[in-house]
């Protein structure tokens, strides 16, 4: 009985003491080595620089596994303190349903509109003029990673653009090397298609289709070229029987494959394998054709809570995530680009520096996640999965179906 009473007292004291310090649960799907190290930078800053405590709610798997769990917790009335989503429209309806905390006052007080670069990232956090999320990093898809060893073995110089790569493919094949590595996960096929589109059709045509949903352009001759190129790439990937993207990257690292079209997160794999950019591998932004990167990435949302103390803590975390020191520490670990242009990333490697330079020049496009709904993206993903796996589907058929999806896109 006595111990029970002391327990009660203890609980009461805790409750009183917690009036200001809050345990804030943050959910995310960053569980691989580099990712976990990066998110630990957030936790460290939050624990040290505020009186609150970061409670890590990592959900293993991928975004595809984690997002349904997060959404069902938010809609089910058990909201976490903060949660990761990708830049774009994944949380759009949650915001519209009034389930997310409005961060506009913090954003205005700190002038986010002036510091976030590119500002389009903030735009995709803004709905009806109110700000609902904090962008934390930029990941871009538009890269091809080339193995120097593979090209040396085939006796051809390392290509500097997509056309040279296509020309070198038969030579690679002759030496028993798979020209293009690609895993069998659906998103890899549709991602690579997006990269080829931006490189070969150019940013205007891409924007006409993916932003303005112009089905005529999607059915037109510019896109026909893209589908022809994708059909050729489909032949080049024959023989890369792997599932995961990092296994495909590993084929490039070990020289079993010539190259891989993959986002900038692939360079973490090269780093872990002690490969040097420039001497062991090359990276070509925009496939060496159009040096443009898309600004996908991650953002944090703060589900609405009834407790004002929690709300204060959420806002503190929001402003912390965008602060200069945290941005540098986080993005160096993550291998992604910071969302503000006024920080110094001297420690970045060659490929990251290329990305930063493109970013500084403003050669950027929104990510498809920002412009198309998850539903439309899913339909495109299905089409691409089918197209890349089945060589009996002609480029023209695939294009027709693609244009149909775009015509009905929202």
């Amino acid at each position: 009985m006595k111990s029970f009473r002391s327990l009660l007292c203890g609980t009461a004291m805790c409750a009183a003491g917690a009036a200001h310090a809050v345990d804030l649960e943050v959910t995310h799907w960053w569980t691989s080595g580099g990712e976990a190290a990066a998110v630990a930078e957030f936790a460290k800053a939050f624990n040290e620089m505020t009186e609150h405590t970061w409670v890590d709610g990592a959900i293993a798997g991928s975004g595809g596994v984690a997002r349904p769990i997060m959404i069902s917790r938010i809609t089910g009335g058990d909201p976490m303190g903060a949660t990761q989503f990708n830049h774009g429209r994944q949380a759009e309806e949650l915001v519209e349903a009034g389930l997310m905390l409005d961060l506009t006052d913090v954003a205005e007080a700190e002038g986010w509109r002036d510091i976030v670069h590119p500002v389009s990232l903030l735009d995709s956090c803004t709905i009806d003029g109110r700000v609902y999320c904090v962008p934390v990093n930029i990941h871009s898809w538009q890269w091809i990673w080339l193995s120097h060893a593979a090209f040396a073995q085939a006796g051809v110089p390392v290509p500097t653009n997509w056309d040279e790569f296509v020309a070198a493919a038969p030579k690679l094949r002759e030496s028993g090397i798979v020209p293009l590595a690609m895993g069998n996960q659906p998103w890899q096929a549709s991602g690579a298609f997006g990269v080829i589109t931006i490189a070969l059709a150019g940013p205007e045509a891409w924007a006409a289709v993916s932003v303005d949903k112009d089905a005529e352009v999607a059915a037109g001759p510019v896109y026909a070229k893209v589908f022809e190129a994708a059909a050729a790439a489909r032949e080049m990937r024959q023989g890369s029987n792997v599932q995961d993207w990092n296994q495909a990257t590993n084929l490039v690292i070990t020289g079993k494959a010539g190259g891989q079209i993959m986002g900038d997160w692939a360079q973490g794999e090269f780093q872990v394998a002690n490969q040097m950019a420039g001497s062991d591998y090359s990276c070509l932004p925009g496939l060496g054709v159009n040096e443009i990167i898309s600004t996908g990435g991650d953002a944090f949302y703060f589900p609405k809570q009834s407790d004002p103390d929690v709300e204060a803590a959420q806002k503190e975390l929001a402003s912390l995530m965008l602060s200069k020191e945290v941005q540098v520490a986080f993005n160096l670990k993550k291998g992604s680009l910071p969302v503000r242009g006024d920080v110094d990333l001297a420690a970045a490697n060659d490929c990251m520096k290329k990305g930063l330079a493109i970013l500084a020049q403003g050669n950027i496009l929104p990510d498809a996640n920002q412009t198309l709904s998850p539903d439309t993206l899913g339909q495109i993903e299905d089409l691409m999965t089918e197209f890349w796996a089945d060589s009996s589907i002609s480029a023209a058929d695939a294009q027709e179906r693609y244009a149909d999806i775009i015509a009905n896109a929202d």
Binding site: P68, I71, Q90, E93, Q379, D382, W388, D390
Partner: protein
């Protein structure tokens, strides 16, 4: 009194099962995205569903998987049970070995068979290393036969249970019947087919229900083994429902697909229930 006691159960069944089902069907006529909203679009979701290649492939796969799984489970299960019923030695050991896979979840089963059927590590590699260099067996990487790769894993996991149920049924047959059949000089295989199997009708109904429910909910096996690939060659309806509802945030489309699944189950169940329970009244 008994009826009053049953009220909570009846209410739960009505609200949760029937209510939930009706709600799903009603909202399949809306354009709900992430959250259910009542903006009616008529049959649009169904139109889109039946114009979606992936859905058609899913249905075909379910048909192939379903029919094969039904036939093979029953046949293999019964044959194994009949063999075990011959009063052999170490019956317990065999029974345990064959039932053992059932203790594994579909996820584990799927992963195990993903490795066994992997051309670089599994069966193909072993046979090749034995000297038959041109041997090819890679169902999971071949679009045309991938569903059979999944079927193998499903049978491996599920047949043990069917066998045990059948064995229990066989043991329930009176020994006198066997003796009588032997006295009349009826061959054993004829006794099985014309006397024993008709007597085991309740056991067959139970196993049929178990197998059928296993077929409709085949989802985790596919996710673990192929995640629908290569391409979309091993997609199944349950996976389509999950993906559209939770990954693609299109509840309306997911509801339409699950309503079609319900309809498919109803088409099978209603005639069967009519035969099963309708005839009993007439008795």
């Amino acid at each position: 009194m008994a009826k009053i006691a049953a009220i909570p159960m009846i209410l739960t069944a009505l609200c949760v099962f029937v209510g939930g089902t009706l709600w799903t069907v009603v909202y399949s006529f809306t354009s709900s995205r992430l959250l259910p909203k009542a903006n009616w679009v008529g049959l649009d979701q169904y139109e889109r569903l039946w114009n979606t290649n992936r859905w058609i492939v899913s249905i075909e796969n379910l048909m192939i998987y379903g029919i094969c799984s039904l036939i093979f489970s029953l046949v293999i299960g019964f044959v194994l049970a009949a063999l075990l019923d011959q009063k052999i030695r170490f019956e317990n050991t065999f029974r345990t070995i064959i039932l053992y896979p059932f203790a594994l979840s579909f996820i584990v089963t799927g992963l195990v068979w993903q490795w066994i059927l992997n051309p670089d590590f599994g069966v193909q590699n072993i046979v090749r290393s034995l000297g038959w260099a041109s041997f090819e067996f890679d169902p999971l990487y071949n679009q045309d036969i991938v569903i059979y790769g999944i079927l193998i894993a499903g049978l491996w996991q599920g047949t043990g249970l069917i066998m045990v149920l059948m064995l229990a049924g066989l043991r329930g047959i009176d020994q006198e019947i066997w003796k009588a059949a032997r006295v009349d000089g009826i061959p054993t295989w004829k006794t099985y087919i014309f006397i024993v199997i008709p007597m085991m009708r309740p056991v067959f109904v139970t196993t049929l229900v178990l197998i059928a429910s296993g077929i409709v909910r085949v989802f985790d096996l596919v996710v673990a083994q192929t995640s629908g690939g290569p391409g979309i060659a091993s997609e199944v309806p349950a996976k389509y429902v999950y993906d559209t509802m939770f990954l693609r945030q299109n509840l309306g489309q997911g509801f339409a697909a699950s309503t079609m699944m319900l309809l498919a189950v109803a088409i099978v169940i209603i005639p069967w229930a009519y035969l099963e329970f309708g005839s009993r009244k007439r008795d």
